[in-house]
Symmetry: C2
Subunit: 201 residues, 2 copies
């Protein structure tokens, strides 16, 4: 790929190559799953030299780890609605939209499946969720500070409780969650948090 002198900032080409390769890797994962991911095929789809891909990512698991790191970087920042329930609902809808999106849903299923048998992917996946939980945890902490939730409420537990039923439905039934399921997930996590289920005594 070429560009007029001065139009590309330092690092621009590297960033473009990474974006093209990760896009291609995500496409293959979403369409065919982890078992069909192949560096040479990804290079061809991304229109990037095979040597570049091998040198930079080294292996299929290295590529998936970088894809998950990129997904965490690109994820939307949390919303602030002024109430815990409103914030949890916004989080639930974001997760629901992601899992219901054909490409994103298939991508998450493929990566979660890969994590069951590949330790490096499992590590990258854990890291992805740690970043996302940390992004949304303040909505629970602010709710505690406002007196909406009991003191000592574990913010991470509440955020994970919102996601759990949405992922569980997708992984055990294969059916992407509907918007009503997102609202129910948010209301359930909120009710349990209000009841003190996530508070350490």
């Amino acid at each position: 790929m070429s560009a007029e002198p001065g139009t590309v900032r330092p690092g621009g080409r590297t960033a473009r190559v990474r974006a093209a390769v990760l896009r291609a890797a995500g496409d293959v994962l979403a369409e065919h799953g982890f078992a069909h991911l192949d560096l040479a095929d990804v290079a061809r789809r991304a229109e990037v030299g095979k040597t570049t891909v091998y040198r930079r990512w080294g292996s299929v698991t290295g590529l998936v780890a970088d894809l998950l790191a990129d997904m965490a970087e690109q994820s939307l920042p949390r919303e602030e609605t002024g109430t815990v329930l409103g914030d949890l609902r916004a989080n639930a809808r974001l997760v629901q939209r992601t899992l219901a999106d054909p490409r994103q849903g298939a991508l998450f299923r493929a990566v979660i499946a890969a994590a069951t048998c590949d330790e490096r992917t499992a590590h990258a996946l854990r890291r992805f969720y740690e970043i996302r939980v940390a992004e949304w945890a303040p909505c629970v902490e602010q709710g505690v500070a406002r007196g909406e939730l009991p003191p000592g409420t574990d913010a991470g537990e509440v955020v994970r409780a919102v996601s759990a039923p949405l992922y569980y439905a997708l992984l055990t039934t294969g059916t992407p969650p509907a918007p009503a399921a997102a609202d129910r997930a948010a209301r359930a996590a909120f009710a349990a948090a209000v009841a003190g289920v996530y508070a350490t005594p």
Copy 2:
């Protein structure tokens, strides 16, 4: 395998062959995952003729479907403790013990991973959870009848809500859930049900 005449009831050999083959299939899934499941290897491990295995199960996915049907048949019946919270806790602990068991936990992860890319396995997995949810749903229905939960509470939703955080933790972190997580899952589902989250208006 031979037996003295008169010591094997009709169907006994067939049942023994099935048990040995499903046991071997479960071992391979738990140890190596779906990608390494091979009918000839299963026949060898089960000490059963290869032809018998091919004729009876036909394919790897046919074998996994029968394994899931057998797991549903063999699953423990629900407990009755006299209260909804007690029953949900018993259910949560059963799920937690299953997922925390090294062989069973690995087996579930392997089958859930396989279901993301194989429609026949996905169908068998859905059927497995339908059977398990139907087994435990009466504890919620009895709770509604006793006035512990609001009328119109969706029993299946409550039972699935108990399992969701335990599976979610295993699949996104790779760490089997601890007994404390089981109690928290039961209390959370109960609190949400009491708050009317699973009741259809």
